[in-house]
C-alpha cells in the first residue's frame, strides 16, 4: 500500500511535467505539412497563392504552409533551424549564403532531379552558387538586379539628365544634393555595402581573389581604394541618409520627398508604389514621377552590379523529402516563375527572361543582369557577411574615416575568416 502510494505520487508528479511532450511523428505523407521558408517580402502574394493551391491540388492529403522570414540574421536562423528536428522542408537562402549550407550538408542532394527542375535552362551563376563538390543542392529561385530609382521632376529641375557613366552619376548626385539642401541626391545609408560593390568592381578592384588554397582580400588594392574613395564622396556629398542606417525601407524617404535618387533591388519599385494605406505604405501618386535606369559603368553601359538573388533547397532533415521536392518543382515551374518575371524579378530560367516585359524597368533589369557579378565563392563568405565586417567598414567610411587604413584592416579580418 505504502509503496504503491510512492509510485502513484511519482507518477502524478511526472504526469504534470509531461504536458509538453508531443506525439511521435509518423513518416506517412497522410496529413503531412510542408513548411516553406521564403525570405523577405520580395515574393509576390500571387506567387505564394499559386504555390499553395497547386501543391494542395496535387497532394490533397497534404498541406503547404509558407512562413516568411526576414533577411536579418538569416544565416544564424538557418543554422539552428535546419539542424534541428523541427526543420522547415523547403528554404530560401541568399545566393551568397548558399555555400555555407551546401558545404555543411544542410541540404538534400538534388543532383538526380536537376533536369526535372529545369536543367540547363536554370540561371548558370545561381546553379554554381547552389552546387558544392560536383553535386547540386540548391536551385536558383530568382535574381534581382539593382537599379537606380529617381524622381523625374527633381532631375529635370536641376537641369540634369540620366547619366551615362559612373562619374556622371556621382556628379548628378552631388548636384542634386547641393540644389536641395537636406535631401539625398543619392540615398545611401552607411550599412548598405551591396551598393558599394559596383564602385570597387568598376575601378578594377575586387573584394577577394583566390590565391592557391587561400583567399587574398583585395579591398586595399589601389583599384579598390579608388572605388572606395568614390563611395566616400557619394556618402559625404550626395547622401543625407543616416551614416549608420541600414537599407531597409528605402521607400519611406522616397515618398516623403527627402530621397531624390536611390540604388536598390528591382522589387523596391513595388514598395514605392504600394497603396498609401498598406501595412508598409508607399506613394502610388508618384508613379508618373518614378524613373528608373541601370547604374552606369565607368566607360558607359551598365555597371557590374551585385547579382543579388536567392537559391532554394530542401532541408536534409525534411520529414517528407518527396513532397518537399514536389513543392520545389512547382516553385521552378514556368507558371510560378512567370509571376516573378511579371513582378520585376529575374526568373530562375533563362527561357522566361521575356516575361519581364519591355517597359523601362525591364530594360534596366536586362541591362543590369547582363553585367552582374557575385561575391567571393567561398563557403566562409556567409560568415564574413554575418560578422558584419562590410557593414562596419562602410559605416566608418560614411563617417569620413581614412579609407586606406580602414580597407587594410577590413582585408585582414576578411582573410582571417575566409582562410580559417
Amino acid at each position: 500500500m505504502r509503496k504503491l502510494g510512492i509510485v502513484a505520487l511519482g507518477a502524478a508528479a511526472a504526469i504534470t511535467l509531461a504536458g509538453c511532450a508531443s506525439g511521435g511523428t509518423g513518416a506517412s505523407d497522410e496529413g503531412a505539412e510542408i513548411r516553406v521558408w521564403l525570405v523577405g517580402t520580395d515574393t509576390p502574394d500571387e506567387a505564394r497563392d499559386y504555390l499553395k493551391t497547386t501543391f494542395e491540388k496535387d497532394h490533397p492529403d497534404a498541406t503547404l504552409v509558407i512562413e516568411e522570414q526576414s533577411w536579418d540574421g538569416l544565416v544564424d536562423r538557418l543554422t539552428t533551424s535546419l539542424s534541428g528536428s523541427d526543420s522547415p522542408d523547403v528554404v530560401e537562402v541568399g545566393n551568397t549564403q548558399a555555400s555555407a549550407f551546401t558545404s555543411a550538408g544542410a541540404f538534400l542532394d538534388l543532383t538526380e532531379h536537376f533536369d526535372d527542375l529545369g536543367g540547363d535552362d536554370l540561371l548558370p551563376g545561381f546553379v554554381e552558387a547552389g552546387s558544392y563538390d560536383g553535386k547540386f543542392y540548391a536551385a536558383p529561385l530568382y535574381s534581382g538586379a539593382r537599379l537606380v530609382f529617381y524622381k523625374k521632376d527633381a532631375l529635370a529641375a536641376a537641369g540634369l539628365s540620366v547619366p551615362s557613366t559612373l562619374d556622371e552619376y556621382i556628379a548628378n548626385g552631388e548636384a542634386l544634393a547641393a540644389a536641395n539642401p537636406g535631401k539625398s541626391g543619392i540615398w545611401w545609408p552607411g550599412q548598405d555595402w551591396y551598393n558599394a560593390l559596383p564602385y570597387i568592381w568598376e575601378n578594377g578592384g575586387e573584394v577577394a581573389v583566390p590565391d592557391g588554397d587561400e583567399w587574398d582580400a583585395q579591398l586595399s588594392s589601389p583599384e579598390s581604394i579608388a572605388g572606395l574613395e568614390q563611395v566616400q564622396r557619394v556618402m559625404t556629398n550626395a547622401s543625407a541618409a543616416p551614416k549608420d542606417g541600414n537599407e531597409t525601407s528605402p521607400e519611406v524617404g522616397f515618398c516623403d520627398g527627402t530621397t531624390l535618387q536611390l540604388s536598390a533591388p528591382s522589387w523596391v519599385k513595388w514598395s514605392i508604389l504600394a497603396p498609401a494605406d498598406a501595412e508598409a505604405p508607399g506613394c502610388p501618386d508618384q508613379e508618373q514621377n518614378l524613373g528608373v535606369y541601370a547604374l552606369p559603368g565607368m566607360d558607359g553601359g551598365a555597371a557590374q552590379v551585385f547579382a543579388g538573388g536567392s537559391n532554394i533547397g530542401v532541408s536534409a532533415k525534411s520529414a517528407h523529402p518527396e513532397l518537399a521536392i514536389d513543392a520545389l518543382k512547382i516553385i521552378l515551374s514556368d507558371g510560378f516563375q512567370t509571376i516573378y518575371g511579371e513582378n520585376g524579378l529575374v526568373p530562375a530560367k533563362l527561357s522566361l527572361a521575356d516575361t519581364l516585359g519591355t517597359d523601362e524597368v525591364a530594360q534596366a533589369i536586362a541591362a543590369a543582369a547582363g553585367n552582374a557579378k557575385l561575391t567571393p565563392a567561398s563557403p566562409n563568405w556567409a560568415d564574413v557577411e554575418a560578422a558584419g565586417i562590410l557593414q562596419d567598414l562602410f559605416v566608418k567610411i560614411a563617417q569620413g574615416g581614412d579609407v586606406a587604413a580602414l580597407a587594410a584592416a577590413a582585408d585582414e579580418e576578411i582573410e582571417a575568416i575566409l582562410n580559417s
Binding site: A13, D244, N380
Partner: protein, 329 residues
C-alpha cells in the same frame, strides 16, 4: 534564526544580543522527523530529472563543444575533432576578447549602479505616494517590465532614429539645438551605450523598485518612529535603519542585476542592427552569439561562453556566501 522548542525560555546573558539556552536534555523527546519518509524526494525526483536534462545536459554539451573544433559542418552531422585547450588559448590570447570583456564590465557597472539608485528612489517614493498615484506608478512600471526586451529596443530605437526620431525632433524644434538635426545616436560607441543603458535601466528598474518596496513595507514602523523622535533625519534613517534591515534584499537584487547585465543580449543585438558599429559595441552575450552562431565557430564560441559562465558563477558564489553569512549572524 532557527527556533528550537525546548520548553524553556532562554536566559538573558551579559553579552548583548546573546541568549543562553541549555543543551537539549537526554530525555527530551526528539522532534518528529521522519514524518512522510521518502515522499518529498519522490515528489522532487521528476523536477530534478527535468532540471538535469534542460540545464545540466546543455551545460555538459557546451563544455564538450568548447574542447572541439566545431563548425557548421559539425552541426549538420560531421564528426568533430578534439582540440582540447586550443579554443581557450585562442580566446585568451585574443585582444578583441579583452576589449569585449572590459567593455561589458564597465557597461554592467554603470547600468547596475544607476538601476539600483533609481529603483531605490522609486521604492521610497512608492511608500510616500497616496494610493491613487501609487497604483498609477505601479501599473506603469509593470507595463514597462512586461514589455519584451526586443519590442522595447525597437521602440526606443525609433525614438532615437537619426532621420525621423522624436528625440532629435524635440531637441531641434523645441530647444533649438540645431546640431541634433540628423544626429546619429548610435554611431559613436559611447553614445550607443548611452542609448542601450537607457533601455536596459528602464527595463530593470521596475523589478528593483517592486522588490525593495515589498521589503520597505516590512521595516517596523515603531523603530523608524523612535529614530525620528531621537532626531534622525530622512537620510540618516535610511542609512542606519532601512538599509541594514533590507541589506539581504539589496544584496540579492544587486547580484541579480550584475548577472543579468553581464549577459545582456537582446537590447545590444537589436540596437546594432538599427545602427552603430558592431565591432566597437559588442558585449559578451552578443560576442558569443556572433562567434558561434553567426560566425559558425561553435568551439570558440563555446570557450567564450564557458569563461563567461565561470565569471558569473564566481559572482554567484560570492552572493551565496554573503547570504549564508547573513543568516548565520
Amino acid at each position: 534564526m532557527t527556533t528550537v522548542d525546548h520548553g524553556l525560555d532562554a536566559a538573558p546573558s551579559a553579552i548583548e544580543g546573546e541568549r543562553l539556552t541549555a543543551p537539549p536534555g537526554p530525555n527530551t523527546p526528539r522532534p518528529r522527523r521522519r514524518r512522510g519518509g521518502l515522499t518529498p524526494y519522490t515528489l522532487l525526483t521528476p523536477a530534478i530529472i527535468v532540471l538535469a536534462l534542460i540545464v545540466g545536459w546543455p551545460l555538459v554539451q557546451l563544455i564538450v563543444t568548447s574542447f572541439q573544433e566545431f563548425g557548421r559542418a559539425q552541426v549538420f552531422g560531421a564528426p568533430p575533432e578534439w582540440v582540447w585547450f586550443e579554443n581557450y588559448a585562442n580566446v585568451l590570447t585574443d585582444p578583441v576578447f579583452y576589449g569585449v570583456l572590459a567593455r561589458t564590465l564597465a557597461f554592467t557597472a554603470v547600468c547596475v549602479v544607476i538601476t539600483m539608485l533609481v529603483g531605490t528612489l522609486i521604492a521610497l517614493m512608492l511608500m510616500r505616494l497616496p494610493k491613487g498615484f501609487r497604483m498609477l506608478l505601479s501599473v506603469g512600471m509593470l507595463l514597462a517590465w512586461a514589455m519584451p526586451a526586443l519590442t522595447a529596443t525597437v521602440v526606443w530605437g525609433w525614438m532615437f532614429d537619426t532621420a525621423y526620431g522624436v528625440v532629435n525632433y524635440v531637441l531641434v524644434n523645441w530647444f533649438g539645438q540645431v546640431e541634433y538635426f540628423q544626429h546619429s545616436w548610435l554611431i559613436d560607441p559611447l553614445s550607443f551605450f548611452f542609448v542601450a543603458g537607457i533601455i536596459i535601466v528602464w527595463g530593470a528598474v521596475p523589478f528593483v523598485a517592486f522588490t525593495l518596496y515589498a521589503g520597505l513595507t516590512q521595516v517596523p514602523e515603531e523603530v523608524l518612529e523612535a529614530a525620528q523622535l531621537d532626531g534622525a533625519g530622512g537620510f540618516k534613517r535610511f542609512r542606519l535603519i532601512v538599509f541594514p534591515f533590507l541589506k539581504p534584499i539589496f544584496l540579492i537584487v544587486t547580484i541579480l542585476q550584475v548577472i543579468w547585465d553581464l549577459r545582456v543580449f537582446t537590447q545590444i543585438f537589436a540596437l546594432q542592427d538599427i545602427g552603430g558599429i558592431r565591432a566597437l559595441t559588442n558585449t559578451l552575450g552578443v560576442y558569443i552569439y556572433q562567434t558561434s552562431i553567426a560566425g559558425g565557430d561553435f568551439g570558440q564560441g563555446g570557450a567564450i561562453a564557458v569563461i563567461t559562465a565561470v565569471l558569473l558563477m564566481s559572482i554567484s558564489i560570492y552572493y551565496v556566501r554573503q547570504v549564508t553569512k547573513e543568516e548565520e549572524l
